[in-house]
């Protein structure tokens, strides 16, 4: 596993948007490794519907940046076959909601190949996609389905929550010798943050302690990290000190960092955008109470979407997705719990 920032490298940091940071990672890792190619719908000529792949066709040409028909099974399957032969395909799925049409290739083929074949094959495939609600894109273009993906042995799943992570995790994913999926959050595309110019990668399975604190821990996934930060800032005004952990990858899950925090704060809220029932929060919650039962002063609490498809109307969608005020309220409730 490469380090986050290679030692001894000069680091020049400037502000970039989340999507530009991701895009820079793509450019740099493709420049580094000629075995990396990108394939998907409108990723070449158009640069991807979210601008994720802008400029790659111009820089790397049509051999390495390939537009396809609307055929997600074939896109992912092509990646599986090419990866089994040693290339490093990046297959774009555009919207996370489209996993349903390609699921077999993801979970039965890409993820299982190594194990099922007795270790004889590695599948260094990266799938990129965009999830999350808040764009008035309705039920089939707004989902967060990371719980499905994290339940698949053989697959790794990243959910970058900052520009820095968007770049580092796409690089980490492509360099990883396993099938990985990097889920960008559509509503974060324009969010800015500091990003080193240099090429760096973030290894999978290392959580980010976004903020240190002592009264309660918030484990937040994807864009909920941003909301948690807002909530924590508000709570701080009332002297409530919140620690925020961003697992960064939900598979593998860095449970140790979470447990260490919970043993310190004794209270924990897990927040994600996906529906609560069966969400990744359930796994995190279970593991916390399994490993830190005697440290908990209150039950592990979850805040997530209600058990419904994502509604279109903005007023409903706003009520649907957790946000800073609700996180804040839940932390306060958590602290009141005797």
């Amino acid at each position: 596993m490469p380090d986050e920032i290679p030692e001894g490298l000069p680091v020049t940091t400037r502000e970039l948007t989340y999507v530009k940071a991701f895009n820079e990672g793509m450019h740099q890792v493709m420049a580094e490794d000629p075995d990396v190619f990108l394939i998907g719908e409108d990723v070449a000529g158009y640069g991807g519907v979210f601008h994720m792949f802008d400029g790659l066709l111009t820089e790397f040409g049509g051999k390495r940046v390939v537009d396809t028909p609307i055929s997600e099974q074939a896109i992912i399957g092509l990646g599986v076959g090419a990866a089994a032969r040693g290339l490093r395909p990046v297959c774009d799925l555009m919207f996370m909601d489209f996993v349903g049409v390609a699921m077999d290739q993801i979970f039965n083929q890409a993820a299982k190949m190594k194990y099922m074949f007795g270790g004889n094959v590695s599948v260094p495939l990266t799938i990129t996609t965009a999830g999350g609600a808040g764009m008035s894109a309705a039920a089939q273009h707004s989902q967060s389905l990371e719980a499905w993906l994290a339940h698949i042995p053989g697959l790794k799943v990243a959910m970058p929550a900052s520009p820095y992570d968007a770049k580092g995790l796409i690089v980490g994913a492509i360099r990883d010798d396993n099938p990985t999926i990097v889920v960008l959050n559509k509503k974060m595309l324009g969010i800015k943050g500091p990003v080193p110019e240099e090429l760096y990668s973030i290894p999978f399975g290392v959580a980010n302690i976004v903020r240190e604190g002592s009264n309660a821990t918030i484990v937040a996934i994807g864009r909920m990290v941003v909301e948690a930060e807002k909530a924590a800032a508000n709570l701080e005004k009332d002297g409530i000190s919140v620690e925020i952990i961003d697992p960064r990858t939900v598979q593998p899950l860095d449970i140790n960092t979470i447990i260490t925090s919970v043993k310190k704060t004794h209270r924990v809220l897990v927040v994600h955008e996906a529906v609560e029932f069966g969400g990744i929060g359930a796994e995190i919650s279970s593991q916390i109470q399994e490993s830190a039962f005697d440290y908990l002063d209150a039950p592990v609490t979850r805040l997530a979407a209600p058990f419904a498809p994502v509604p279109f109307a903005p007023i409903l969608e706003n009520a649907y997705v957790p946000d800073a005020p609700r996180i804040e309220a839940d932390v306060r409730r958590l602290l009141e719990r005797k």
């Binding site: 055929s71 498809p309 109307a313 409903l316």
Partner: protein
């Protein structure tokens, strides 16, 4: 590069009523889309829209051959199908505005317009997602022997996805009363047809399923109606599905009116297609054949304008959904 179908003088017979009906359907689509597109771009309406402008003759021609009991399934570019099938402007605009009075009570938005009373079984935001559903609707027709048919509309790009293949083959094997309508507008998003398949005429794919494939000028609403009628009659006679390819064009961008971030289409191509505009064509036919006067056509435009204002006003003044009801209708209880 897509080229407009050769400018054929339409030879289809037409009555005054038919011309008026088809014209009205198309104008209603055109103006609805133009207004809706502007309302989103001005920020008045939430979300984003895939507009049907340019393709009106396909939905209008096909749906004019259907009754309310016949079912259709649609796509992300679904307003035209809904309107052609008889959907009202008020609940349509209300849906786009996310209001309780909308077709989906504000839950669905642009990509999920449904009108069960008119046999509009739903738009769909998943490419190919509606095709097997139409096959199911046709299965119900056959099962009940009620003489209805189902139609599935989808794009050229959708014919490359697995669901298309499975659905058409299934319908062929089960001999179901369904008509598959490819709206070949030459592009899947920003990818031209010759980059997403190695065929010029997608209707050729019919031969993979042992069913008839028909090509039609998708700018000629009378021609579209005529091939649709034939396919529908065939389906009703129990002779199974037909694959129709309507060659057409969208005037606007994949999403919204003018987003052409990159020049994936030659502006000359767009202009060439506009010279064969479906609404202009039907107006020309109506006047030339002495069936409908220019004033009567103008009345339709005017009436449509009034209906649109009414629909927008209705939508704007309709109540927002109540977040307290957010869990309603997840399940039938």
């Amino acid at each position: 590069m897509a080229t407009p179908t050769e400018a054929l003088e339409t030879v289809m017979p037409a009555t005054r009523e038919l011309v008026l009906d088809l014209h009205r359907r198309m104008v209603r689509i055109r103006r609805f889309e133009e207004r809706a597109g502007k309302l989103v771009e001005s920020g008045d309406m939430p979300g984003f829209l895939h507009l049907y402008v340019g393709q009106e003759a396909v939905a209008a021609g096909v749906c004019s051959a259907l009754t309310d009991a016949d079912q259709i399934t649609s796509t992300h570019r679904g307003h035209g199908h809904a309107i052609a099938k008889g959907a009202d402007f008020r609940p349509m605009f209300a849906e786009l505005y996310g209001k309780t009075t909308g077709y989906c009570k504000g839950r669905g938005g642009s990509m999920h317009i449904v009108d069960m009373n008119r046999g509009m079984l739903g738009a769909n935001a998943i490419v190919g997602g509606g095709i097997p559903i139409a096959v199911g609707a046709a299965f119900a027709s056959q099962y009940r022997g009620d003489g209805t048919v189902a139609v599935s509309f989808f794009g050229d790009g959708a014919t490359n996805i697995g669901a298309f293949h499975e659905s058409v083959n299934m319908a062929a094997v089960l001999n179901l009363p369904v008509v598959f309508v490819i709206e070949n507008n030459g592009y899947a998003e920003f990818t031209p047809q010759d980059r997403h398949m190695k065929l010029t005429d997608i209707a050729e794919r019919a031969s993979s399923y042992g069913i008839p494939g028909v090509i039609v000028d998708g700018m000629d609403v009378l021609a579209v109606r005529s091939v649709a009628l034939e396919a529908i009659e065939r389906a009703k006679r129990g002779e199974g599905p037909t694959l129709i390819e309507a060659k057409t064009y969208r005037y606007f961008d994949h999403q919204g009116i003018k987003g052409m971030r990159i020049l994936y289409r030659d502006p000359a191509e767009v202009e060439a297609w506009k010279t064969r505009d479906a609404i202009n064509l039907i107006e020309a036919i109506g006047v030339e054949r002495g069936l409908v006067s220019a004033e009567e056509f103008a009345d339709i435009w005017a009436q449509t304008e009034a209906d649109i204002e009414d629909g927008i006003e209705f939508a704007r003044t309709s109540p927002d959904p109540d977040p307290a009801d957010i869990l309603d209708d997840v399940y039938t209880v």
